[in-house]
Each structure stands twice: as structure tokens, then as C-alpha cells.
Symmetry: D2
Subunit: 337 residues, 4 copies
């Protein structure tokens, strides 16, 4: 429920309403704006109906939040939320470029790949320490050692780092080393993990599940925001369809649709979204043209030797080309990297 206060409402009036919401066992929200204060109340609809705030003299209007997701919805929060990872900003017209290898393999590999990302204009470094793999016999990541290495390399090249966390028990450790936490597509509905990253106090990149509808993704994000963290970036990375010519089907229409429904920034991962190196640059440009707040791409100093995702990783010179083309495109659209 959204409660718009009258312009003349005092802080006392506001506090009184918030107290009434809380007294009913509902969750109160306080959103002071330039012109007037907007309050929110979340919880059981029958109890919300009992609040009867329309009758309050300092309340201008009350309306329900129609979307099943509340905190995530633009209904409640009309302005763009800006998410900051280190010095990089996503949302509100700002575009972020996240790049790096699929996994931290060796010190040489991660350092060279990070430099390639940085040289191309990346604003955040990505690489995996824990890799969720379809087969138990596939490379599962180097774990805690990789976390330490990634953090060191990030400091050295001057980029904040984002890395995936795959279990709620690991959240604290990963949050100690990384600037942002990634929840992968396979874990988008691992609700225990979502709650844990919601409590961790670090920005979150939440990837859309392979069979997640737009609404499922927004409800997954709602778990994180409901746990107290609104520094969340939504990431479209392709859905599973009948088409086998690409690894997934990148659903770029999700970008303007998500941005219409939610105030959260939306980025695109064209590497997993296509699985084919030569499609990464055109799809990254397309994502920017569709209004994305950033892209996340895989780059590797030597893709053929990569322990995972080699076929979809850019070569360093392709990464450079991507940076330049993205910049030209963003300028044409009145934006900037």
C-alpha cells in the first residue's frame, strides 16, 4: 500500500502513521521526496485493509500496490535506483561495463585478463571462484584461494570485483573479499541464498534463471530487497528455448520491460546469452540500444585455454573493439560509459 502525505504534513504526522503501520505487524516504509513524503505499508492484504488511513487528515491518498512484487516495483518507487559497485554506477542513465574471465584460473591468467578488461574501459572486474557446473566432474572453481587472488588483482588494476556465491553458508566469506555478490541463473530461486545476500550489505547482481518469467525474476529480487538490501542489479542472460543454434535465447525485450516495471538497474550478459564469441559484440551493442544500464561480458587472455566458457570469451582485441563501439553508440543515444 502506498500512502501519499499532504504537502503540509509534519514529521510528527508521518511518524504517527508509521507507528500505526508497525503496530499492526506490517512493514512500514519511509520515502521522503522533494515535494512530499510517500509512505509504504507491506504485509497481509486483509490487515492492510483494516488500517483505514484514507480517513487521516494529513493523508492525501492511499492506493494498493498491484504488482505481486512491492519493493521492487516502480509503483512504489518511481525514480531509478542507482547501484554503486566501487566507483562504477549502474542506473539513472549511467552505463557500467563488467568484464573478466569466467573463472579465476591462475594468477597470470586473471591478471592479464583483468588488464585487458581495464584497457577496454571496464568499470568492474568479474571472475568466478565457485563455479556451479552441470557435471560433478567439471572444474568447480578454485574456491577461497581464488577469492583472495581476485581481490588482489582487482586492487592492483584498480577495479572493484564481482563474483558468484552459490551457497548461503559462503555469503559471509565471499562478501569479505568481493565488492559485489553475484547470484547465478541456477540459483535465482534458491531462496535461502537470496535471503542471505539480502542481509550481507553488499551490492548484488541477480541473474535471470533459464526458465524464469519476468515476474519470477522480479519476485526473486523482492526476496533480496525484503531482506533489507536495495542495491540490486537485474541481469538478463538468456532463457532456455527450443533454439539450439545459440546457447540460450537472449531476451532483450526484457530490458525495457523490466525497466518499466521496476526502478532497479538492468544489465545484459551477452556471453552466456549467446554462447558464441562472434555474437557478443553485436548483442552488447543491441543491449545498450535497448536501454540497458550495463553489460557483463567474458574476456580471457587466451580463450582456447580457458577451463570454462572459452567459446564465448572475447579475445583482448575484441574487448577493446567492444569498448570503443559501445562508447560511440552510447554517445549517439545521449548517454555515456
Amino acid at each position: 500500500m502506498i500512502i501519499v502525505m499532504k504537502p503540509e504534513a509534519s514529521q510528527d504526522d508521518v511518524n504517527q502513521i508509521l507507528a500505526r503501520i508497525e503496530a499492526k505487524g506490517l512493514k512500514p516504509l519511509h520515502m521522503p521526496g522533494a515535494e512530499r513524503v510517500v509512505l509504504g505499508a507491506l504485509g497481509d492484504e486483509r490487515i492492510l485493509a483494516e488500517l483505514d488511513l484514507e480517513a487521516e487528515p494529513q493523508v492525501e491518498s492511499v492506493k494498493p500496490i498491484l504488482a505481486p512484487y512491492k519493493l521492487v516495483s516502480r509503483e512504489l518507487h518511481p525514480h531509478d535506483t542507482l547501484v554503486r559497485i566501487g566507483n562504477a554506477t549502474f542506473g539513472g542513465g549511467r552505463f557500467g561495463l563488467i568484464a573478466g574471465p569466467c573463472a579465476v584460473e591462475t594468477e597470470t591468467q586473471i591478471m592479464a585478463s583483468a588488464k585487458a578488461a581495464k584497457a577496454a574501459g571496464a568499470t568492474v572486474l568479474r571472475a568466478g571462484a565457485y563455479k556451479p557446473r552441470t557435471s560433478p566432474y567439471a572444474f568447480q572453481g578454485h574456491g577461497p584461494d581464488a577469492l583472495v587472488l581476485l581481490a588482489e588483482v582487482g586492487r592492483e588494476v584498480g577495479l572493484p570485483v564481482v563474483t558468484e556465491v552459490i551457497e548461503s553458508g559462503d555469503v559471509e566469506l565471499v562478501a569479505r573479499h568481493a565488492d559485489a555478490l553475484q547470484v547465478g541463473a541456477r540459483n535465482m530461486q534458491n531462496f535461502a541464498l537470496l535471503k542471505a545476500v539480502g542481509r550481507a550489505g553488499k551490492p548484488v547482481v541477480l541473474k535471470r534463471g533459464m526458465s524464469a518469467k519476468i515476474e519470477d525474476l522480479l519476485l526473486a529480487a523482492e526476496y533480496v530487497l525484503a531482506a533489507g538490501n536495495d542495491q540490486l542489479i537485474l541481469c538478463e542472460r538468456g532463457i532456455r528455448t527450443f533454439e539450439t543454434a545459440t546457447r540460450n535465447t537472449l531476451d532483450l525485450a526484457a530490458v525495457p520491460l523490466l525497466k518499466a516495471k521496476s526502478h532497479l538497474p538492468v544489465i545484459v550478459d551477452p556471453s552466456h546469452g549467446t554462447g558464441i564469441r562472434d555474437l557478443v559484440i553485436p548483442m552488447a551493442l543491441a543491449a545498450a540500444a535497448a536501454g540497458a544500464d550495463g553489460v557483463m561480458v567474458e574476456v580471457h587472455v587466451d580463450p582456447p585455454s580457458a577451463l570454462s566458457d572459452g567459446p564465448q570469451s572475447l579475445y583482448p582485441d575484441q574487448m577493446l573493439a567492444l569498448g570503443k563501439q559501445l562508447e560511440a553508440l552510447l554517445v549517439a543515444l545521449g548517454r555515456s560509459l
Copy 2:
């Protein structure tokens, strides 16, 4: 089979090889290039193997066409094919903008909508006379009368027209009135229709079927080319997936993928691809950024009154905005409308 002749091969040598191919009951192809002549031979693989052209002194090399589609493949035809509809050109770096209402409804409606398209920079006018509709009780188009009206309006506003044909028996009539023939998504594997439009001598816009893989689309195009018509434009218009927030899932990665596999121009229909008016402009821009050779959009002088596809039709002022934004984007990418 692709046969590359030596630079010094004479026309006589070429003719001799072509005659040998034909004598075996195979289809010979003659593709003279700037530096050397390339020949093709299509047909049963066992007979191809019997040709034994490697032994010919004027033949430099012989290689099989690996793709199941042959005439459509870039293997056989490395350069972009340019398709011309009236004065509009698609392919080879040229971008075409096809616009118009879903259907020809009334003279006033089609004229006003056509002018809105023209004003925004459209190079081809689209509108349906025959509408394939899921329900037998839905508006099925005004048929032959609509064809005549569309042609008149096209002449008056100075735009060539493309319109859908839904049955092989109608191809001749539609080809008499239209500058290009459209084969719709539901008919992409109506092979009788594909053969008929292949023989009609008019450019064809072939839309991808709702459940067609990339390869299915290219093989459907092969039916048209095999019938003697290489003036064909491939059109991505969204596939059917589990996502219901949009009418279809627009598969923009298909654009660079199709262009890698085929020499034919590729355009995108963001109106059917999304089904939502507000997503049409961002997805049209994304299509251009992904490398499409054009877009096809629905515009209607009064969308709420449209007999079909109202919710996905642009208003005239949105159409104007699209034209301007497309131009800015294409310039930034070093191309032009």
C-alpha cells in the same frame, strides 16, 4: 559443391564444366567474380561425387557445401545479396524501414497511416489484404479490394508496397498489385506457397515461424531460391517461448547469426516480436545495433480503433521519433537509413 576455376580459365572452360554438371542431371550455377569464376553444382551427393572435377586442369579447387541449405549459404555466395523493393534497398550496409498498419481497413485509414510512415522516413509501405487469423470469427482482411487500394495509396505517397500472401492460388493476383510478397510466420513451412512465391518474380519477405529454428528458416528460404528467386529478405519476428509478458520472444541474436550463415538481408519486426507498443522503439534500435538490414513496424493513424494489432501499433508521433532515433543510431554505427 563449389568449384573455383583457375584465374586463367577461359569462358570455354567454364562452359564445358557447366555442361558436364548439367549432363549429370545436376543444377549448375555460374558466379563470375572480380578475380575468378566460381561455379556451383547442386543435387544428389552421390552423383556429385561422380563428377570428379578435381582432375580438370582449369579447376583450382572443389569443396562441398556443408550446410543443408545451399543457395542460401554464404559458403557458396560470400558477398551480401542486395534486395530491392522499388527504390528501397536491403543488405550490403543499406538499411530499409518498412512501416504501415497491420491491415488495410478503409481508404482514410490506410492513406493516413501511409503518410505517417512516409513522414517518418519509411522506404516501404506494409499492410495486409489477407490476414491469417487464429479464429475463423476474427477479421480476415478485405482481400482483393484491399490489394487495389493499397497499390493506389502506395503510388500516391510514393512508396513501394509489401503485403502478405497466404495461399499459392493467390500468388499471381497479389504479385500483380504488390511490389513485394510477404510470407507470414504461420506459413513459413507451407512449402507449396514457398515454391509459388519463388516462381512469382517479385521480392519476398520471409518471416520466421513461431517455432522455427534458424536452420528451418534458412531451409524455407532455400525453397524460394531453388525455385529461381534470390530476392529474399529474412525476417526475425519473435519465437514462442514460456515467457508470456511479451507476445513473442524476439530473438535478436538471430540477426548476426543469420548474416554469418547466409548472404541474404535480415530484418526485424519488433511489433509482432513484442506485441507491446512501448517496446517497439527500443527493440527497433536494438535490431539496428545488432546489425539488421532493416526493420518492419506497425503504425496506425488511430491504434485504439485498429481491427487488428492495435496494442502493438505505433502512434504517428512515435513513428516520427523512431525514424529520428534510428537515423542517429545508424550514423553512429557508420551506416545510413
Copy 3:
């Protein structure tokens, strides 16, 4: 609109109502039942509203047909429709077994395959004369010669025949030779073809399209019934999904769902539905257990030599086993082959 007459209504009363319906330009339907007469009126909803039949003294009740498909709906026609192909009956508890090779290849092949089908208890023989193929270079069927041969073999083994028609222009010829017409999955929304088979006066087997929703299939059937033919069998044959281990995903839940929504018989094609020979028998049994009114399977005297669909064709001894197992299962379910 469904109009239930009072038990005491006379034939004159009925005729009068039918005349009023017709006078409004609507389509009148007459469905005499054991206890009372039910009438129907189809057409534009606004005109239906003007009829005002509730006020008629001999009319007991009037209710709208809610489904977008009308003639096909159980709302209008609560009892099962029985469809007869030769002596075989589908629907109303009767189970039909359609079997035969994918295509008519040679006289020896079709005769031996037909005998294998007959020996296993098949009640209808199937085989294709016209094959809609994804590639223009694949075997397209032997056409009119195959039609003649199929009809002869059917007579000789004593089985009615069903065969696919792929173009409205061929309907008359195919109807002359076959006992029933099949509309294939790729043509499920070839509306010109649906109208033509609706007018042909022969039973129709309508296969679900690869990306057709249940409602799309019922609306496609509505085209045939609206053209005057209610001898139509719906056929589930698998839909296209992300799963690639089978050729299609056989949607058996469609069987009880279609039977709840429509009075038409529903059969299942487990050969195309799976594409794998060893899955055909279990899925045919599952179809019967799910309540299907029949199955259609591919059997070939020598599957490895088949010109099409060899990997999904049963061997004659598997066909025999299927017949026996189906019979045992149907008996257990209180039904019979």
C-alpha cells in the same frame, strides 16, 4: 449462443426460432436431443445480443458460449462426437489404431507394411503421398501415383486409408482416393487448407502444430467445422520445447484437457511425438491410459531402408506386440480396440 427449448416446444416453435436467427444474418444450429431440443446461434456478439430470445415462451434458457471456439466446444455439444473412417470408429469410448509407413515408397514396401499393420489389429492404414519436408532436397513423396497405390493396397488388405494433403489445390484429388484427409502439424494454421478440407466431405485428422497451444488447435478445428464438416479427429503429436533428447515433447495432458473442452475425438501420434522407436510402445500405452480415442503409429516392413522417419518406425513384430498390449490395457480400462 446456446438456446435450450422447453420440453413441450413443438417443431413449429423450433423452426420459428431458427428462422429468427437466420433472419439476423447469424448461423443457426439445430441439435435435437433425447429429452429436449437445443439450438445454437453463431455470429457477431452484438447481433446475438439483439435476438432477445429469453423472452420467447417456448425457450427455457439462453446462455453464451464462453470459449472462443464454438462448434468445437463441449458447451454447445455435450456428447462425444463419433468419427468414422471406413469401418473404424473414434470417440464415444471406441478406440482406433491407425498404422502404416511414413510414406508410400514402393508397391512391395507399402503392401508389406500394410499387412503388418493389419496383422497387429490396425483399423486404418496411413501413408504419405505428399511429404512436407524441411529441406527442398529431401524426398517429397511420390504424389498422385502414391495416392492410387495406397488406395489399392487399402482395398486389398481391407483397411480404410488416411493420407496427408498439403495444399488446398490438392484436396479434391486426395479426397477422391483417400477415406480420410490428414492436415499435418506444419499446416495446422494454413487456413486456406483448413477451409478446403472442411468443404471436402471426408473425415479429417488434424495434427497439433509444433508451437500450437491447446486453444490454437481448437480454433484451427473450428475452421473445419465452420466450413461444414464435423467429422474431425484431433491429434496430439508433440510440441517443440527445449528438450532435445526426443524429437518433440509429447504433451499427453492435452488428451484429457482436449476431451474436457471439446466433443471431438482425440488421438495421439507417439512416433512423431518422440522420434525414437523404443519409446513408441510405452507412449502409445500411456496415451490409451490417459483416455485417448486412438493412436497413430508408424510401422515399416524394413525401417533402416525407409526414405523418411526410419528411426521412429516400428518393426512388424513390435507392431504386433503393441496391438496385444494395447488390447490388454484397454480391457483393463473397460474399453476395447
Copy 4:
């Protein structure tokens, strides 16, 4: 790698081979059979190649395991694995019936629902204590209290219980109260959870993910077996497709396909697989006819009041009818409940 010993091989010979496998850092497997001993070796393919066991005099043959899943594959383990939950047996021709409400709601509700399940012939009781829900505001289960209650009710009605675990940290607690652990569709690729249930020493029911291919499901099972637990039942519960008339598309062809590829028992959940109460009985029967080793259905003493999954829960009298029909069908197929 599969190593078949000669019939005359002694226990010493076998031990020697096992020691050589282990010495290389590979995982040795010992599978004594009626006629001869079969050994296995799992691990890095390059090291496997170095073993050179073909040269051993007591080794009859050596062949690679082609499937990416090893322990799960029938290649390595040709006979059916029997899984026992309490007195219920799944696999090897034995059919198990798991029934119960979606969630433990109240003592009255779970007791009455359990009695309805038992009366209908259920052999295992199911009910959720932890509910993974798409929305954070939906009922999430009563947690530990529900676990205790479920165990008590199971003892009282005389049925073993299976319940879902959604986080690796909860596995120990759930395993203390339940006879079997269920991993839900959303967690099928929660690899931390799979490893934890693999170590828990209780039978596991592993549900197929909404967008999981057959191979993905088998590889997820491989995680559990690789952690030391081969008491695992695979459960088909519907996949996500474009069809919206049912909650999911139940892929029954997965049953014979999984049983061909793996020795593990396969059951079907027609409740989640369809989401529609009236489709549950036909699809449960179809599952049995397709060769499933059991079904898992939702039954609730009062479905309209259910806190979750009401529309797909059977009424007690429907549950009774299902039990009787299943029994008749299984008898006809030469099997028994």
C-alpha cells in the same frame, strides 16, 4: 571405464585391479554379479587411458562409459536399482504410491489427509515443512514444527514420510525426522544441496528442474551418487513450455527414456505436472502405462482451504478412485502396487 573380469578371475585378481585403480588416484567400483565380476574406474580420462588394463590376463574386456554421467548410467550398472523408503520399494518392477498434502498446515489437516492417502493404498506420505515459494510474501511452510508433526502422523498412520529440504544447512535436521529427502525442481541444480543430501544417508527423491534436459537431471543425480548415496529416485514433474493451459508440460516420454539410460527408479508427479485436479488421475494412469516406478500425488482433506496447491490437490474420494484404477492398470500390465 567398465572392466569385465573373466569368469575364472579370483578375488585376489579383483583386489589387485582395484588397488591399481586406486593407486592412480581414480575411484574404483566393485560390482559382483551372478556370472562374473564387473569393476569400474572413474576419474580423469587421460589417467584412465594410462591404466592399460586390457593387457591383464584376468580381464575379459574394457570399455569406456560414454555417458557424461557415470554412476547413474545403465552402462555401468545394467540392473535396476531398488530404492526403499520404509517398507515401500521403487524399481525392479515394484510400484510406489506417494501421496499427501502440499504442506503440513495443522495437525487436523495433516492427519486427515494422511489417512486419506493411506486408505487409497499410498505407501509413502508426503508433505512439506519448508516451501520454496516464488513470492517472499507467500506461505513458506511451518519449518521444524511441521517436521516433528509430519513424523508423528507418519508413525500413527503407518507410513514412511518424505519431505523437501531446501538448504544444505537444513539437511541434518530434516534427515533426523524424515524417511526420505526430497530435492525440489527449483533446487535441482543447487549443487551444494545435492552434495549434502548425498552424504545424509537417507533415500532421495530428486525432481527434474523446470528447464532441465534429461541429461541435466541425470548429471544432478550423479552429484548425489558421487557423494556416496545410490538410493535415489528420479521424478518427472513437468517442464516449462509455451503451453499455458496446464501449469507445466508433463514429459512422460522422459520415463522410458530415463529408464533406458539409468538404473535408478523413475516416478512421476502429475499434480505439479499439470496443476489441474481433473488431469491428475488420467496422467497418473498414463505414467504407470509408460513404465513409471511410482507416482507422487497431492491429496488434501479439504482442497479449497489449502494454503498452497489447492487447485491441483485430489479430494479424498478421488484419491480412493486413483488407488483402485492404478491397481487395475498395473495388474493388466503384469505389475502390482
